[in-house]
C-alpha cells in the first residue's frame, strides 16, 4: 500500500517538474493578489498590518482553489484515471498520494514564500513564523477538501467556476482559524496555540475522511 503511495507521488511530481509553469502560475497568482490589495486599500502600514492576515489567507484559498482543476483533469483526459480506478489497491491511497503531490507543488510554495508577504505587509518577525506554521497546517486541509470538489466537477463544462461555488464555503473554518492565528500573534499575550491545535485537528480529520470521500466522488464521476 505504501508502495502505491510512493509510486503515484513520484509520478505526479515527475510530471509536474516537466511542466514547471503550471506550478509557478499558482504561486504567482498568490503573489499578485496579495500585491494588489495595498494598491486598492492604501499603503499605510497600520492598515496593512490589520488586513494582512486575512488577505494572505483569502489569497491562499483562491490560489489553492484555482490549482484544483488540474488535480484530476489531465489524468481524466488521457484515460489514466480510469486505470487508477481499476487498480487492486484502495483508491483512497491513490487519491491521497495525488493530493499530497498536489499540495507539495501548490501549497508548500505558498508556505515558503510567506515571509516575503510578511515583509510586504510590515508584519513583525514572530508573526511571520506563526503565519508559516498556520499555512503549513492549513493549506493541506484546503487541498484535501478541494479534492472532493475537483472530483465532483470532473470533466464538466464551466467546472472551474462551479468548483469555487462548491468548495469556498467549506473553506471557511480554515480561513477563520488560520487568519485568527496570525492576528492573535500580533496582540500581546494572546495564546496562538489554541488556533494551531484546531488547524491541526482539521488536518487530521481531513486526512482521514477526505481521500475516502474523494474516491467515492471519482467513482461517481467516472463510470
Amino acid at each position: 500500500m505504501f508502495q502505491t503511495f510512493k509510486t503515484v507521488l513520484a509520478r505526479d511530481i515527475l510530471l509536474a517538474t516537466r511542466r514547471r509553469t503550471d506550478v509557478l502560475t499558482a504561486l504567482f497568482f498568490f503573489l499578485i493578489v496579495i500585491s494588489l490589495f495595498p494598491l486598492g486599500v492604501g499603503i499605510e502600514s497600520e492598515v496593512l498590518r490589520r488586513i494582512g492576515p486575512g488577505v494572505v489567507w483569502v489569497a491562499a484559498l483562491l490560489a489553492s482553489m484555482l490549482a484544483l482543476e488540474r488535480l484530476f483533469a489531465s489524468d481524466f483526459a488521457d484515460g489514466t484515471l480510469e486505470q487508477m480506478l481499476l487498480v487492486p489497491q484502495p483508491l483512497g491511497i491513490v487519491v491521497f498520494a495525488k493530493v499530497t503531490a498536489h499540495w507539495l507543488l501548490t501549497g508548500l510554495p505558498l508556505v515558503l514564500i510567506a515571509p516575503l508577504i510578511g515583509l510586504q505587509y510590515h508584519l513583525p518577525g514572530a508573526t511571520q513564523g506563526v503565519m508559516m506554521l498556520a499555512l503549513l497546517l492549513g493549506t493541506p486541509v484546503l487541498s484535501l477538501i478541494g479534492a472532493i470538489g475537483a472530483a465532483l466537477t470532473l470533466g464538466l463544462r464551466g467546472g472551474g467556476i462551479l468548483i469555487s461555488l462548491l468548495v469556498l464555503p467549506l473553506y471557511i473554518p480554515v480561513l477563520i482559524y488560520g487568519s485568527g492565528a496570525v492576528s492573535a500573534s500580533m496582540m500581546d499575550g494572546a495564546a496562538v496555540q489554541a488556533y494551531l491545535f484546531i488547524l491541526g485537528a482539521f488536518l487530521l480529520l481531513a486526512v482521514v475522511f477526505s481521500p475516502w470521500a474523494t474516491a467515492a466522488a471519482l467513482r461517481i464521476s467516472v463510470e
Binding site: 465532483l152 466537477t153 464538466l156 463544462r157 464555503p169 473554518p173 492573535a184 463510470e223
Partner: protein, 247 residues
Amino acid sequence: MAINWFKYASPATFYPLAGRMIPWFAWLAIILTLFGLYWGFFETPSILTDQKQYYRIIFVHVPAAWMSMWLYVVLAGWAIIGLVFNTRLSYMMAAAVAPTGAMFTFLSLWTGAFWGKTSWGTWWDWDPRMTSELILLFLYVGYMALHSAIDDTRRADRASALLAVVGVVLVPVIFWSINCPDPNQCAALHQQSSFKGVESNILLAMLVLSIAFWMYSFAVAFMRVRNIILERERNTQWVRELPEVCE
C-alpha cells in the same frame, strides 16, 4: 406486521400518492398560516410600545430560519438514503427539497435585514447567526448548481448527493467556527436560546407558523417531485397512460 417500506419508493406508485397528499398539506399550510398570523397580530399581549411593534417579523423570521436549517437536514437525509439504497426517488426528493430550502434561507435573511434595520439601525451585521444563514444559502446554491451542471441525471443525482453529505458533515464545524472565532474564549461565548423567556402567546403563534411552513414545504416539495418524476419518466408506459398526460 410486515410493512413493505419500498412500495412507495417507486416513482410509479409514489406519483399518485403525492398527488393525493398535496391538497391535505396545502390546506393545512393555508389554515395554519392564517391562524398563526391572526394569533400573532391580534392575540398577543400589547406589552411593548408602538415603536417596538416591528418584533412581529419574528412570526415569519424565526419559522423561516428553522425551516431553512431543517430542510438542509432533510435534503442530506434523502441524499444519504439515495446513496445507500440507490433508490431513484430519494434523489428526486432531495432535488425537490433544495429550492424550498434556499427560498426559506433567503426569506429569513431578508426578514432579518428588515428587523436589523428597525432595531439595530443596520441592514446587515456580521452576527454569527446571520453569517451562518448566509453560508447555508451558499451551500444550497452549490448543491443546485452542481445538480444542474451535470447533464447525465444519474451522475447529477449521485454527485450532488455526495456534496450534500459532505456539506452536512462540515456544517457544524462551519457554524461553530463562525460562532467562536477565538478558540481561547469559546466557553464564554455561548448564545442563549431558550423558550423560557418567550411569552406563551408569541410562542404559540411562532410554533403554529413553523408547522404551517413545514406543511407548505411538504406540499411544494411533492408538487416539484411530481414534475421531476414526469420529466424523467416521460418515456415510460405508465406516464403515457396517466389521464393528465393523455389529453
